[in-house]
C-alpha cells in the first residue's frame, strides 16, 4: 500500500513548507495503546516497498531543519525474543500475581556499564556518543519508572524499595529496562531531533537491544516470585 506512506510523507513535506502545524494525534497521548513501533510493525505488510521508518516520518535527509510542524516517532524494533520476555513478564505480573525479586543484580546501571565496556572494546576511543545516549537512557529510566513502567500490582513493591534518594536504576533490572523501550518513541517525541541524528540514535538503541538479546540468559530472570508469602517459587519457565 504505497500510496498511504507516500502521500502522508508528501503532505508532511508540503505542510512544512507552508508552515502548517499539523498537530493531529500523535504518540504523545498517554493512552494505553501508544502509536509506537509495535503498531507500525503490525502493518508491516503495507510497508514492504517503503523505507522502514515510522509512518509519520519526513522524507528529507541531509540538512537538519526545524521539525516543529512535523510529527516524528522514532521506530524501535524490539527483537522477537525480547518481545517474548515482555509477554512472559506481563503474564507473570498481571496473570500470575508474581513480582520481580528486588533488588536486581545486575541492575540497570550495571547493564548500561557492561554495554559501554562492550562498545568501548569494539569501537576503541570514540564512545562519547554512546556514553551520552546511555546517560540518557538512565535518566529516562529513573524518571519514567514510577510514572509509566509499572504494572499496578508492582506499586507497593516500588514504594518499599525506592524511597528517599534511591534511583530506580540501582534497584530494577533488565525486565523493567525493556519496558522502557516500549515507551521510548513516546518519550523522544517530546524532543526535537534532526532527521539524521534520529536515525543514528535509532541504530544505537537497536544495537543496545541486540546486546540485551545476546546476553539475555545472564540479564533476565526466568522466574518471578509470588507476591504472597505462601506462594513460594515461581513456575520456573525456561527462556
Amino acid at each position: 500500500m504505497k500510496h498511504t506512506e507516500e502521500n502522508v510523507m508528501k503532505q508532511q513535506a508540503l505542510d512544512r513548507k507552508l508552515g502548517v502545524d499539523r498537530s493531529s494525534k500523535s504518540g504523545r497521548s498517554s493512552q494505553s495503546k501508544p502509536k509506537s513501533s509495535a503498531d507500525v510493525k503490525a502493518d508491516k505488510e503495507d510497508q514492504k516497498n517503503t523505507a522502514p521508518k515510522g509512518r509519520k516520518r519526513k522524507i528529507d535527509s541531509g540538512v537538519e531543519k526545524d521539525n516543529s510542524s512535523v510529527e516524528k516517532l522514532v521506530k524501535i524494533q524490539v527483537p522477537s525474543t525480547l518481545k517474548k520476555h515482555l509477554v512472559d513478564d506481563w503474564d507473570f505480573v498481571t496473570q500470575q500475581d508474581k513480582l520481580v525479586k528486588l533488588p536486581r543484580s545486575p541492575n540497570v546501571d550495571d547493564i548500561l556499564t557492561k554495554y559501554l565496556e562492550y562498545r568501548s572494546k569494539k569501537d576503541g576511543i570514540m564512545t562519547d556518543s554512546v556514553g551520552e545516549i546511555l546517560k540518557g537512557i538512565r535518566c529516562y529510566f529513573d524518571k519514567a519508572l514510577p510514572v509509566m513502567l509499572l504494572y499496578k500490582n508492582e506499586r507497593q513493591q516500588y514504594h518499599k524499595f525506592v524511597h528517599d534518594d534511591v534511583s530506580p536504576s540501582t534497584i530494577y533490572g533488565a525486565e523493567h529496562l525493556l519496558r522502557l523501550f516500549v515507551k521510548f518513541p513516546e518519550l523522544l517525541a517530546y524532543v526535537n531531533i534532526g532527521e539524521e541524528t534520529l536515525t543514528r540514535l535509532q541504530q544505537k538503541l537497536m544495537d543496545f537491544l541486540n546486546f540485551l538479546q545476546k546476553n539475555q540468559s545472564t540479564l533476565f530472570l526466568s522466574a518471578y516470585e509470588g507476591s504472597r508469602v505462601s506462594e513460594g517459587k515461581g513456575k520456573g519457565n525456561d527462556e
Binding site: 494505553s32 522477537s80 562519547d128 509499572l150 516500549v182 524532543v191
Partner: protein, 125 residues
Amino acid sequence: MEGGRAKEEEHDGVSVHSPCKAPPSSASSLPKEQHEVELELRLLEALEIYPPVKLRGVHRHFVLYGLMEFLQKSLDRHFSPDEVLQLLDRFYNLEVLKPDDEEIDTLNHEEDFCLPQSYFVKEEP
C-alpha cells in the same frame, strides 16, 4: 566584530556573556577570528533545533547528543559532550534556565504500564 549577536535572545532568564575568552587553537588554516565566527554561527544554528532550555530537563542527554552530532557534521571535527557544554557556557548561563514546562507534563501523568496488543501477536516467518 563584537560578540554582540550572541546577545539577541529569545530565551528568558538567560544571561549572555560575550565570548571574550581566546578561542582554543585549532589546526585549521583559517584565521582564528573567522574560525571563531563560524563556530558561533553553527552553534546558533544548532540551538534553533536544540534549545538550551532542553538541556535542563530529562531529555538533556539526547539533546546534547543531537548538538554533538550537528556540530560534528557542520564543522567536520569531533565534539565531545564536555566541549559542547563548554561552548554553550560561553554564551549562556545554563544554571538559570528552568526546565521546559512541557516536560513537566510528560512525566507527571502517572499511568500503569500496558503492553501493546501487537506484542501478543505471533509473528509469521
